[in-house]
Symmetry: C2
Subunit: 158 residues, 2 copies
Amino acid sequence: MSDLFPKKGHDHDRCVHSALAQAEKVCDAENARFTDMRRKVFTLIWQSHKAVTAYELLDALTAEGQRVQPPTVYRALEFLTELGLVHRIESLNAYFGCDRPDCEHLGQYFICTDCGRVAEAVNEEMSNAVRKAAIGVGFTIQATTVEIKGLCHDCATH
Amino acid sequence: MSDLFPKKGHDHDRCVHSALAQAEKVCDAENARFTDMRRKVFTLIWQSHKAVTAYELLDALTAEGQRVQPPTVYRALEFLTELGLVHRIESLNAYFGCDRPDCEHLGQYFICTDCGRVAEAVNEEMSNAVRKAAIGVGFTIQATTVEIKGLCHDCATH
DNA sequence: CAGAAAATGATATATTATAACACTTCATCA
DNA sequence: TGATGAAGTGTTATAATATATCATTTTCTG
Ligand SMILES: [Zn+2]
Ligand SMILES: [Zn+2]
Ligand SMILES: [Zn+2]
Ligand SMILES: [Zn+2]
């Protein structure tokens, strides 16, 4: 069994650090500005491996002393999702940080209903099955979302 | 290529009629009451093969002379979705009628971004791929949603 | 028919998201 | 370097989606 969800007690600061570094790189490559606000929102999203709602981010910013309004958060989220640094989980109305922003995004997510963590899958077999199903019915794919809810290995076994 | 979306100019009254008959049967089998309000909401959802929002239903009911409040619509939707007569499309916050309420629901949907129609797929290969991916990462599935957006065959070729 | 359960009505409010316009910051180039 | 336009953020208002709570009505059961 491959590791999809990070191990308990992993060095999460390292996740955040690495995510920030990758984000810098992506922004740089895209000539996009990784402004203070965007960095703050991005960092807040990366506080955990859970998906976080726009208003949770708003509250967190307020708690930090920043008094921002919804549009500010939604603009940052729009920027980050368009660059693929953050993904939106439709069934949760929530956002979480992509840990491989440089890879192709297949839109496949495992969502643990117990611990709340989200993990992105990159599974060719699923993509192929979707593609094949589409061809079979004459459908031209623009975007696909696969949201799989259940129990992560940790939660299922503890 | 198999037909997934109904043909243009098909006899939609027949879709509605058949859907109502199936719904009656399901409710009967489940000892669930297919009340006037539930039937009205169900019928409104079946006015097209598109997904429809709760507030569109509310407006339609109002236009019919019924002055109902949001909870009334949401209750009907909850009832119908729990019985599998209606499905919720997460990425649209909208609901559409299941045309095979007696089959297993795999949660696979094709959504045409041009004409707005939704079609439910029942594709074992996709399900198997999802199941296999989950096993591969030690994930216990509770529910899966596959929402595929793009162009239906009609819209792609016209 | 009485009493309990289920469904709906009604009011209020919570949650999620966007429109519109003003102001500030930043990149660019004359 | 400083005018200029584009990009980003602030601010206010409001739209769109969804639920909590309690009152009333309808239906079922005995
Ligand atoms: Zn981590
Ligand atoms: Zn978990
Ligand atoms: Zn039809
Ligand atoms: Zn179409």
